[in-house]
C-alpha cells in the first residue's frame, strides 16, 4: 500500500468570491461555502472567519478541527463511510492543504446534563501562553461559526457538525485540482529490513459503548465493544478514523486533525527502514467497564501485536480516568509476551504537580515518555477579538457552572477547556520533570 501525499502549504486565507490557490494564499468563495453548509436544514445560521497565528484572537465553541484533504487517485475518498463510500483508502495520491485547518465552532447545548457523554466545546488562543501550549495555534484557521436547530439529540448534532466541517474542508482542497504540489511525501511500508526490529503503534481509544456515538469512528462506524483491530497507517492519513464532534472539544482528546497528522505514526514512518520496521497501528478499545473486560481487551491487543511479529510497541491512548487501567494492563500483557513497550502519556498530578502523575501503575511500565500535564493552572490574557458562537463561556462543564466573558482574561484551573491543552501524543517537546 503506497500513498503519496501532495502538499499545498497555506499561509493566508482570503474570504472572497472565487476559489483559488496561488503562492500559499487560499482564496475561498464565501457564498458558495455558505450554500454548501445550508444544504443541511439542521444548520440555521453560519458565517466564516479567518484566524491567523499571532493574532490576539480567541476562538470559542470549538467542536473539531480538520485538515483539508482530497484523494485524486486510488480507491475511495477521504473520510470513507462519511464523505465517501465504504471503500479501501490509503493508496494512490491525496492532496492536502498544510499549515491550515477548518475549525467547527458550533453552538450546541446538548440533551445530556453530565457524565461521559455530555457535549463539550473548547477554546483556542492564537497568541499568548495558550498559543505556546496548543499545537493548533500555529495553524492558519478558517473558522466555520454556526448554529444548529435547538433540541437535536447528540448523534444528530454530531452528524450536522461533522458533515459541515468535512464538506467545507473537502471543497477547499479541491481548489488544488490540476496544480502541482510544493512537496510529495511517499508513505510505503512494503520494504522491510530483516535486521531491524519490528515496531508497532498500539493506540488505546476510550469508547463509551452505551452512547450512540462511542467516541471513535472507524470508517464512520462507532467502535464499541470491539477487540483490537489492525489499521494501516495510510488509512489514518485518509481519514479512516474520526471523532465524535460533540465530545472532542476538550484539551486531552484528539481532533480529526490529530488522526490525520498522528505524530507517532509520522515519527515511526520517519524511522522506518532507518532504525526500525514500522509494523502498523493497532486500534484498541479501552475503558471496558469491568476488570474482566479490561484484561480480555489488554491481552487481546497483546496477542494481536504478537501475531503481527512486533518486537516492540509504542503505547499511547485517548481518555482519562479508569481507561488508564486498560492501558497499564496492556503494557503488562505485552511485556509478559516478550514485546517491549514504551508508553507515551500526558500526566495529571494536580495544580502544583505534587499529586500522583497517573492514576494506576503496573511494574512492567518501566519506560514512559511524559508529554506534560493537563492539570497545571493556566492564566490566559484578555483577547482583542472573539470568534465563535459564545461570547460567554462555561470553563467547567457541570450543571450550574457560572459563565464568564470569553474575551477574558481567563483563569483556567486546568487545561481541559483549551483545544490542544495537553500534548497527548508527544508531537511537541512538553514534558514533566521531577523536582
Amino acid at each position: 500500500m503506497k500513498l503519496e501525499i501532495a502538499e499545498f502549504p497555506v499561509t493566508q486565507i482570503r474570504l472572497g468570491r472565487r476559489f483559488s490557490y496561488e503562492n500559499e494564499v487560499l482564496e475561498v468563495d464565501e457564498s458558495a461555502l455558505m450554500d454548501l453548509v445550508f444544504q443541511d436544514p439542521r444548520i440555521t445560521d453560519a458565517s466564516l472567519a479567518v484566524a491567523m497565528p499571532g493574532e490576539k484572537t480567541r476562538i470559542t465553541g470549538i467542536r473539531d478541527i480538520v485538515e483539508p484533504r482530497h484523494k485524486v487517485s486510488g480507491s475511495g475518498q477521504v473520510f470513507p463511510g462519511i464523505l465517501g463510500p465504504i471503500e479501501d483508502v490509503g493508496e494512490g495520491r491525496t492532496h492536502r492543504l498544510s499549515g491550515m485547518a477548518v475549525i467547527a465552532a458550533a453552538e450546541y447545548e446538548g440533551t445530556i446534563r453530565a457524565g461521559t457523554t455530555v457535549q463539550r466545546s473548547a477554546i483556542l488562543d492564537m497568541s499568548g501562553p495558550g498559543a505556546e501550549i496548543s499545537r493548533f495555534s500555529s495553524l492558519t484557521h478558517l473558522v466555520l461559526n454556526f448554529r444548529i436547530v435547538p433540541g437535536l439529540a447528540e448523534l444528530e448534532a454530531h452528524t450536522a457538525i461533522q458533515s459541515a466541517e468535512y464538506k467545507i474542508a473537502h471543497r477547499l482542497v479541491q481548489t488544488t485540482a490540476g496544480l502541482s504540489p510544493e512537496k510529495i511525501s511517499i508513505y510505503d511500508l512494503s520494504k522491510q529490513d530483516p535486521d531491524l526490529p519490528n515496531v508497532m503503534l498500539l493506540q488505546g481509544c476510550i469508547t463509551d459503548p452505551q452512547h450512540v456515538h462511542s467516541g471513535v469512528g472507524y470508517y464512520g462506524l462507532a467502535l464499541r465493544d470491539s477487540m483490537a483491530t489492525y489499521v494501516h497507517p495510510n488509512e489514518l492519513f485518509d481519514g479512516a478514523v474520526t471523532v465524535d464532534t460533540t465530545r472532542s472539544g476538550r484539551g486531552y482528546y484528539p481532533t480529526t486533525w490529530d488522526w490525520q497528522n498522528h505524530p507517532l505514526v509520522l515519527g515511526l514512518y520517519e524511522a522506518h527502514g532507518r532504525c526500525l520496521n514500522f509494523g502498523g497501528v493497532i486500534l484498541q478499545r479501552i475503558r471496558f467497564e469491568t476488570y474482566h473486560g479490561k484484561e480480555v481487551g489488554a491481552q487481546n491487543a497483546a496477542r494481536l501485536a504478537k501475531a503481527m511479529k512486533a518486537n516492540g510497541v509504542l503505547v499511547t491512548w485517548i481518555g482519562g480516568g479508569n481507561a488508564f487501567v486498560d492501558v497499564m494492563f496492556t503494557i503488562r500483557a505485552c511485556e509478559r509476551r516478550g514485546i517491549k513497550t514504551t508508553l507515551v502519556t500526558y500526566e495529571n498530578g494536580g495544580r502544583d504537580g505534587k499529586d500522583s502523575p497517573v492514576l494506576f501503575y503496573v511494574s512492567e511500565a518501566d519506560a514512559v515518555v511524559s508529554t506534560g500535564s493537563l492539570d497545571r493552572p493556566l492564566d490566559l490574557p484578555a483577547m482583542d477579538k472573539v470568534i465563535g458562537p459564545y461570547e460567554q463561556i462555561k470553563i467547567f462543564p457541570f450543571p450550574g457552572a457560572a459563565p464568564v466573558s470569553a474575551r477574558g482574561p481567563l483563569s483556567l484551573e486546568a487545561r481541559d477547556p483549551l483545544m490542544g491543552g495537553a500534548d497527548i501524543w508527544g508531537q511537541g517537546a512538553w514534558r514533566c520533570a521531577e523536582y
Partner: protein, 353 residues
C-alpha cells in the same frame, strides 16, 4: 556575604553520643563540630554565623518546644540559607533535619538544604512534605562520606544563596520530592519515545520519564460482629446530589465532600436528585438514584430488622469520584472517616462507581 545557619545533632556538635541525646536546643555563634567542616568547604564565599544543636531524643520528645526555639533562633539570625545535617543513616537526626527544614522554609521563607542516606526515614518525610524550598542531597551510609557530603552541600548552598534556578532532581543531584514541573525538552516526545523503545529492545540502559509509584496497601477493617446492632452509614463516590447541585460539585477532580439528609426519606425520587460525575453515563443514575444511594434497599433491610431501628445514619456522604486526585481523595476519606467516628458510626456501606 552569604550567611548560613547550620543545624546539627548533639553528636555532630561534639557534645557526645547517646548519653547526650536529651540535650535541649542550644545555639553557638559561628561554627562548631560538623559546621566547622562545612565552613572549610564554603571558604570565603559564605559564613556560618550560628550553629544550632539539639539532642536526638530531646527534639522528638519535646518537638513543639524544640521547633519553637529553633525557629526563634533562625529568625533572629536571618541567614540566607539553612543547612541541616548531613545525617547519613541516623534516623532520628535525619527526620529532625527534614522537619526543621520544612518549618524554616514554610514559616520563614528561607531555603534549606539537608543531606542523608537514601534509606534514612527522613527521606520519606522529605518526599511527603514535598516542600519546594527544601532540598535533600544523597550521602553515603556512614560518616565515611562526610567530606564528600560537605563538599556537595557547600556547592549547593552557594547556588541557593545566589538565587540560582535549581533544575530537576536527577540533573541537579538532589533527591526527588515528587514535585513534577512542566518544561520543554530539547526534542519532541515522539523522538524520545522511539529512542527509548529502541534502547529497550536492544537491552541498552534507558531512563523512564515517569517513575512508577508504590501505593498504600489498605487493609479492610474486621467485619462487624452484629450488623443489626451497629450504626450504619452510606458513603458514595457516585456523585448523586440534590437536584440543582447546590454545593457546586464539578464533574471531575473535586476537592470537597458533603453529606445530605435522608432522615425520614423512604426513597429517592427521580427528578429530586441528580448525578454530577464525568466518568460514566449518568442517564440511568438520574432515572434511578438508588443505583448510587441504595436507600430503598436499606429501608427494606430496616423493615426486615437486619438494620436495627434508628441505626441507619440519617445522612449520606458524597463526593463525585471521577479523576479524583489520590492525595485529595485520601484527605477526603480521612475527613469523612473522622466525621463518621465522631457520630459513632460503626459500619459503612460504600457505593463506588
Amino acid at each position: 556575604m552569604t550567611t548560613i545557619v547550620h543545624v546539627v545533632n548533639q553528636f555532630f556538635a561534639g557534645l557526645g553520643g547517646e548519653d547526650k541525646a536529651s540535650v535541649p536546643v542550644g545555639a553557638i555563634e559561628g561554627s562548631v563540630g560538623a559546621a566547622r567542616g562545612l565552613q572549610l568547604q564554603l571558604g570565603a564565599d559564605a559564613k556560618i554565623t550560628c550553629t544550632i544543636y539539639y539532642g536526638d531524643n530531646y527534639f522528638h520528645e519535646h518537638k513543639e518546644d524544640a521547633m519553637k526555639t529553633v525557629l526563634d533562633t533562625v529568625r533572629s539570625a536571618q541567614p540566607d540559607v539553612l543547612v541541616a545535617g548531613p545525617a547519613f543513616n541516623s534516623g532520628r537526626y535525619g527526620l529532625s533535619c527534614v522537619e526543621v527544614g520544612n518549618a524554616v522554609a514554610d514559616k520563614l521563607g528561607i531555603p534549606c538544604v539537608t543531606a542523608m542516606h537514601e534509606e534514612n526515614p527522613g527521606v520519606g518525610a522529605y518526599r511527603d512534605f514535598a516542600n519546594a524550598r527544601v532540598y535533600c542531597l544523597l550521602t553515603a551510609e556512614t560518616t565515611a562520606g562526610m567530606t564528600d557530603a560537605l563538599k556537595r552541600l557547600a556547592a549547593f548552598v552557594i547556588r541557593l544563596a545566589h538565587n540560582e534556578t535549581v533544575g530537576p532532581a536527577r540533573r541537579e543531584g538532589y533527591i526527588p520530592r515528587g514535585i513534577r514541573r512542566l518544561e520543554k525538552a530539547n526534542r519532541p516526545g515522539v523522538e524520545r519515545a522511539i529512542e527509548m523503545l529502541l534502547k529497550k529492545i536492544k537491552n541498552e540502559p534507558f531512563e523512564s520519564e515517569l517513575p512508577m509509584e508504590v501505593w498504600d496497601d489498605m487493609r479492610p477493617a474486621p467485619p462487624l460482629a452484629q450488623v443489626k446492632h451497629s450504626r450504619i452509614a452510606l458513603v458514595t463516590t457516585s456523585g448523586v446530589v440534590p437536584w440543582g447541585n447546590p454545593d457546586r460539585f464539578k464533574t471531575y477532580r473535586n476537592n470537597h465532600w458533603r453529606k445530605y439528609s435522608i432522615a425520614e426519606i423512604k426513597e429517592l425520587e427521580p427528578g429530586k436528585w441528580e448525578t454530577v460525575h464525568g466518568g460514566y453515563n449518568v442517564v440511568y443514575m438520574n432515572q434511578n438514584p438508588h443505583y448510587g444511594v441504595p436507600l430503598d434497599a436499606l429501608r427494606a433491610l430496616e423493615a426486615e430488622g437486619a438494620i436495627g431501628p434508628g441505626k441507619l445514619y440519617p445522612a449520606y456522604y458524597v463526593i463525585p469520584g471521577n479523576q479524583g486526585s489520590p492525595a485529595v481523595m485520601q484527605r477526603v476519606g480521612q475527613e469523612i472517616a473522622a466525621d463518621l467516628k465522631k457520630d459513632g458510626v460503626e459500619g459503612v456501606l460504600f457505593v463506588a462507581t
